[in-house]
């Protein structure tokens, strides 16, 4: 692993020498995120979000563990327990708001991290495994965040849980018993709250494990970079520490300042007022929507309004609800196939003129889905979300494979060093290193 010119760890004193023989943990850290990991020198700020995501994972685990010390997973008391944290626990309000908004920021940086991957094709060989693990992490995050939102046992907690667990009921034959088994009853109840709390505590550590695999897989080919040209020589790289620790460090400070502005001055801006009302199974809220970070997928779920029927017979092949569920899960699962759907040998979107146009259309499409997922289920939002959903699937499944076939990429720089130092002699496109 790593490059031949990577700095090697030299224990400095007797203790670290002793430790290095018995358990070379400092060596591991040194090689993973220290001076022993050579990184392309030309990374732009889009490469900062991986470290930020790691930071927010740890932030959520730490605030979450302290919150769990004061919380109680029982439907009789859970809502009041949150008020207990807000009012009676020292700086409990800070913990609660930091954890709730921390989830939002975690998703924000993850989305930027994923879109970095889309633009620079970070999923292409030899980095497919990093991408696949990343999709697994994202799915685990979604499950964790969903269950976490149920814990305050407000109106949105209850009704959100009811809608999302109800999705399993759409599966033919086994759907209903499966749903009852998952929920522990016919509607979310005390058993549901207990198991969600248990899983909400467990899953972050599963995510942590997947993150370790993600970083391990990253260190085999090394980090990608904005040119998409692989590292060729020592002059293409700098050691991770101090170069990228310094860059990530100040950028983390900037993001944390923005995070603090939200936590201290608008802590409820990203939430729903409904969730400050205690869960009431007899009173349905006018609009049931998940947290903002699920909006695109919620829009895809709701886009399917008509059953798939055989025309003029009225025979229903697949119900609309099941279509929506398939599409919603499919919309993320298809990311697993991305390395093989996009076969263009050029990685970076900057050298792919046709891809770049469609990438930005896709960004607009995703922004539309973000908006429409939180909108009321009425026209024109339904029609718009149907168009945006159709484009989402066309982009990944039809447009990407076709443009990777027909596109003529721009000339790539010979090396990262040339790209950084501005050498004016580009290699011919045919000389570009294939992504295989």
């Amino acid at each position: 692993m790593s490059f031949a010119w990577a700095n090697s760890y030299e224990p400095k004193n007797d203790f670290t020498k002793w430790l290095d023989e018995k358990l070379p943990l400092p060596r591991l850290v040194y090689n993973a995120v220290g001076a022993g990991y050579p990184v392309p020198r030309n990374l732009n700020y889009m490469w900062n979000f991986g470290v930020l995501a790691g930071f927010f994972l740890m932030f959520q685990i730490i605030t979450g563990i302290v919150l769990a010390m004061h919380y109680s997973a029982n439907t009789e008391v859970a809502f009041g327990q949150i008020e207990h944290i807000m009012r009676n626990v020292n700086y409990g309000w800070l913990l609660k708001y930091a954890h709730a908004n921390g989830a939002s920021f975690f998703f924000l940086v993850i989305y930027l991290h994923i879109f970095r991957g889309f633009y620079y094709s970070s999923y292409k060989a030899p980095r497919e495994m990093i991408w696949l693990l990343g999709v697994v992490i994202f799915l685990l995050m979604m499950a964790t965040a969903f269950m976490g939102y149920v814990l305050p046992w407000g109106q949105m907690s209850f009704w959100g849980a009811k809608v999302i667990t109800g999705l399993f009921g759409a599966i033919p034959f086994i759907g209903e018993p499966l749903q009852v088994w998952l929920v522990g009853g016919y509607a979310p109840n005390n058993s549901t709250l207990n198991r969600f709390f248990s899983l909400h505590f467990l899953l972050p550590f599963v995510i942590l494990g997947a993150v370790i695999l993600h970083i391990w897989a990253l260190h085999i080919p090394g980090s990608s970079n904005p040119t998409g040209v692989e590292v060729k020589a020592e002059s293409d790289t700098v050691p991770f520490h101090p170069y990228y620790t310094a860059k990530d460090g100040w950028f983390l400070g900037l993001v944390l300042s923005i995070f603090a502005a939200v936590v201290f001055f608008a802590p409820n801006a990203l939430g729903h007022a409904e969730n400050w009302i205690e869960a009431n199974p007899l009173s349905t809220p006018a609009l049931i929507v998940p947290e903002w970070y699920f909006y695109p997928f919620y829009a895809i779920l709701r886009a399917f309004t008509g059953d798939l029927t055989i025309p003029f017979t009225g025979i229903v092949l697949i119900e609309a609800k099941l279509l929506g569920v398939i599409a919603m899960f499919g919309s993320i699962l298809l990311w697993f196939f991305l390395p093989w759907l996009d076969k263009s040998p050029v990685r970076s979107g900057s050298y792919r003129p046709l891809f770049r146009i469609f990438f930005w259309i896709f960004v607009v499409d995703m922004a539309a889905l973000f908006y429409l997922g939180g909108a009321k289920a009425e026209e024109p939002y339904i029609v718009l979300s149907q168009i945006a959903t159709a484009w989402y699937f066309l982009h990944f499944l039809v447009i990407l494979p076709i443009i990777s076939q027909i596109e003529v990429p721009k000339a790539l720089p010979f090396s990262i060093t040339d790209a950084v130092l501005g050498k004016k002699e580009p290699a011919a496109p045919t000389a570009a290193e294939p992504a295989e």
């Binding site: 020198r41 009041g80 008020e83 009012r87 309000w93 800070l94 700098v238 101090p242 170069y243 310094a246 860059k247 460090g249 100040w250 400070g253 900037l254 944390l256 300042s257 603090a260 502005a261 936590v263 201290f264 001055f265 802590p267 409820n268 007022a273 409904e274 400050w276 009302i277 006018a286 886009a303 399917f304 008509g306 059953d307 798939l308 029927t309 609309a320 279509l323 599409a327 499919g330 298809l334 196939f337 093989w340 759907l341 076969k343 026209e379 339904i382 029609v383 149907q386 168009i387 959903t389 159709a390 699937f393 990944f396 499944l397 039809v398 494979p401 130092l421 501005g422 050498k423 004016k424």
Partner: protein, 288 residues
């Protein structure tokens, strides 16, 4: 190749199903809308002139206002609405002394247990008690209120969209319906036992108008107009919903200040660390 072909086929299939079975019928319905006209409630809330003292990043509590608001809650709202997450001891945060809080709590009756025979009794409140509910349970509450349930007020300013301004607006929303809008909404009526309030999502609310001019006599001599009382009760309920509001904002300035300073130091060290690499780029550019 198989994956790409399969992907294209799957993509066409799913978009086809979406367009033909969901989008087309949807567009057809959209093109022929039949929208019933109804009297829509006022979603834009009003705000007091000059805003509330706790508004904005530098907001503070006006303790005299909070105490007036508490008086309105005690003398008007508490007849029907509970405040279940607030304890009497919390009143010290409104500027009352410990002795005043003790005396205040004693004026309220809370459920208790007779130490002699264990029967359920009412006893005077202690600072550690929570504000008592006016009704024994939901059934009793509905029985007294034309089958409507008066909500707990602790979190009301957070549990409604734009809640602070909503409470302030609702308190003053018992106006006459706009005759033009009434004419446009054939089904509009205010049933007996309900009251027209343009800020309530259902237009007709079960709560009668409460803040009639002079319904309380403020101990600090402030004139108890409807607008004044609406401001005061809103301020009190904002405090009740989020007692840490001001402390939160003050802490926020300190934290952001610290973080920005740390960011500045981090940025300067970033510049120092990268200086040689940037110089390399500059030198090379000059050579060329």
């Amino acid at each position: 190749m198989t994956i790409r072909l399969g992907g294209i086929l799957a993509g066409i299939a799913i978009t086809g199903v979406l367009i033909l079975w969901s989008l087309m019928p949807g567009l057809f319905n959209y093109a022929s809308p039949e929208k019933p006209d109804y009297y829509a409630f006022q979603e834009e809330n009003i705000a007091p002139e000059g805003g509330f003292p706790f508004d904005g990043a530098f907001g503070t509590w006006d303790y005299a206002q909070l105490q007036r608001g508490y008086q309105v809650y005690k003398e008007v709202c508490s007849a029907c609405h509970s405040l279940k997450f607030v304890a009497f001891r919390n009143l010290q945060e409104l500027g009352y002394t410990e002795a005043e809080v003790r005396a205040e709590a004693a004026q309220w009756e809370v459920p208790g247990i007779d130490p002699k025979d264990g029967s359920m009794i009412k006893r005077p409140g202690l600072p550690t008690d929570m504000f008592p509910s006016p009704y024994a349970n939901e059934v009793e509450a509905r029985a007294f209120n034309n089958n409507a349930l008066p909500p707990d007020l602790t979190l009301i300013t957070k549990a409604r969209k734009d809640g602070v301004h909503y409470v302030y607006s609702l308190m003053q929303g018992y106006n006459e319906p706009d005759p033009e809008d009434v004419a446009k909404s054939p089904d509009f009526e205010t049933p007996a036992g309900l009251y027209f309030n343009e800020y309530f999502y259902n237009i007709n609310i079960a709560m009668p108008p409460q803040l009639l001019d002079g319904i309380v006599t403020y101990s600090d001599g402030t004139e108890a107009t409807e607008e004044q009382m609406a401001q005061d009760i809103t301020a009190f309920l904002t405090w009740a919903g989020e007692p840490s509001l001001i402390k939160r904002k003050q802490t926020g300035w300190f934290v952001i200040g610290f973080l920005l300073f740390a960011t500045l130091l981090g940025f300067m060290s970033y510049k120092t660390v990268w200086a040689s690499k940037k110089a390399e780029k500059k030198n090379k550019a000059e050579l060329i």
